[in-house]
């Protein structure tokens, strides 16, 4: 096994082009587990911790550009206002030690359906910036997950950054697990309201082969929601929204939970997320009036 340790982004892209089988490693919170347990023996590790660009974030046109190597601790400490659902999800990741090392880019690279960053990225319509020596392209997150742990990333590409639209309404993230820390989610859900476009975004985690959206639930709520800000959603609409989210899931029975439990908890989380964001939306509208 080789250990490749580029110190610039250009070197990193050249190394990935030369060694498409090299496994990128940043915080190591997924990759090292696979190595420690002999589950994987890649021909090379590509250490990206010395590439300064990857740990930077800042505005990029209308987006927040989040380097792929920004750890969860930094998302929580610095980006709660610019990426509320992602910051909320980041707070629920594992433990302080893991949040100090684990990155949003790593979550995307591994593409486990249980990754906590995926539902907020789906709900907010993020884009993933992929780079190689051939050039740079941006893939909408909704086209990024193509199968179980499979993504649109090509073998010679590295994940450079995530681009997040500025929030245009309340967002919420919710996750079910046996305790508050060190939990791989049994199911998770993110909701983002866009008060300008009057659209709704959703993201479902741990309840399908890939992270999923609930398009029918999004359309239903966008039509039924009182975007002028007066009335709370009718109980029947809240219930229906929860049911549509649960129907969009494609869960399986496994050691963490049954498919039926996952569907049920998703309906509950969707109803709660709607209640939280609707309250925030009304309060925001009241403040503006």
């Amino acid at each position: 096994m080789d250990f490749l340790s580029p110190s610039t982004w250009e070197e990193a892209l050249a190394a990935k082009s030369e060694h498409p089988d090299a496994v990128p490693i940043m915080g190591g919170t997924d990759v090292m587990v696979e190595l420690n347990f002999d589950r994987r023996r890649p021909p090379a590790l590509l250490d990206l911790t010395r590439v300064p660009e990857l740990t930077a974030w800042g505005p990029d046109g209308p987006h927040l550009r989040l380097g792929a190597g920004v750890c969860y601790t930094d998302v929580i400490a610095h980006l709660g206002d610019r990426a509320p659902a992602l910051a909320q999800a980041s707070r629920s990741v594992a433990s302080p030690q893991i949040r100090n090392r684990g990155t949003v880019g790593g979550n995307l690279g591994g593409a486990s359906p249980a990754g906590d960053a995926h539902p907020p990225l789906l709900a907010t319509g993020a884009e993933v910036e992929l780079a190689s020596v051939r050039g740079v392209r941006r893939v909408p997150i909704r086209e990024f997950y193509v199968g179980f742990r499979q993504t649109a990333r090509r073998p010679d590409e590295l994940i450079a950054a995530v681009l997040l639209p500025a929030p245009r309404g309340p967002q919420a993230f919710s996750k079910i697990g046996p305790r508050n820390a060190m939990v791989i989610s049994v199911a998770s859900f993110a909701l983002a309201l866009d008060g300008d476009a009057r659209t709704v975004g959703t993201g479902i985690g741990s309840a399908g082969p890939t992270p999923l959206r609930a398009p029918d639930a999004e359309r239903f709520l966008a039509e039924r929601f009182d975007w002028d800000g007066g009335t709370p959603p009718a109980p029947a609409d809240v219930h229906k929204f929860g049911e549509l989210v649960a129907e969009a899931a494609r869960p399986i029975d496994d050691v963490r939970g049954s498919a039926a439990y996952r569907r049920r908890s998703l309906a509950v989380m969707a109803r709660r997320a709607l209640a939280w964001t609707a309250t925030d939306y009304r309060e925001g509208t009241a403040r503006c009036a």
């Binding site: 090292m32 433990s95 302080p96």
Partner: protein, 172 residues
């Protein structure tokens, strides 16, 4: 491969390191520093918590090569020499002894480093004694399978009160 870095203030070199080898393995098996414990090897238990460039991490999840040129502080580095040159247990270590926060002791090194980090960010930073929710959150990634958590919380409260007193100029 050869990896050169700093451990507890001293430059160290490890030879014949396999590229997939963890920092934890290098510390324990190549550098003779068995304080950091090897339990789960997947970041679940926190027994191998060390500082890497001043930030706590599970040493089992850091590739040794990622440490080249960087600075690591392990539980062995918490005790510091006093004015007379004798090394003494750090305040957080004394507090664990006094509070009886050690049963089998396997989780203790990781808890000490993680508790030290909490004190660094709170009591020693002039932010006073952390509340129980903050202590619990800081230690959420450290498992004690003897389930001695009450005494561990006592120890952290005790250490925090002493260190906050020192920082604020009161009696220690």
């Amino acid at each position: 491969m050869r990896v050169t870095f700093e451990v507890n203030g001293e430059p160290v070199t490890a030879d014949d390191v396999w590229p997939g080898e963890s920092l934890l393995y290098v510390l324990r098996e190549r550098l003779g520093l068995p304080g950091s414990k090897n339990a789960c090897e997947q970041g679940e238990c926190g027994s191998c918590t060390v500082y890497l460039d001043g930030v706590t991490a599970c040493a089992c999840l850091v590739a040794a090569g990622q440490c080249a040129g960087r600075s690591v502080r392990t539980v062995e580095g918490l005790a510091e020499a006093g004015p007379d040159g004798e090394r003494r247990l750090a305040a957080v270590q004394e507090a664990f002894v006094e509070a009886g926060a050690v049963q089998c002791g396997f989780c203790t090194p990781g808890l000490l480093v993680q508790a030290d980090d909490l004190l660094e960010r709170t009591a020693r930073a002039g932010r006073g004694v952390p509340g129980d929710p903050e202590i619990r959150e800081a230690l959420a990634g450290n498992l004690c399978r003897c389930t001695g958590y009450e005494k561990i919380l006592d120890a952290v409260r005790l250490a925090a009160a002493r260190e906050a007193g020192t920082t604020e100029g009161g009696a220690a």
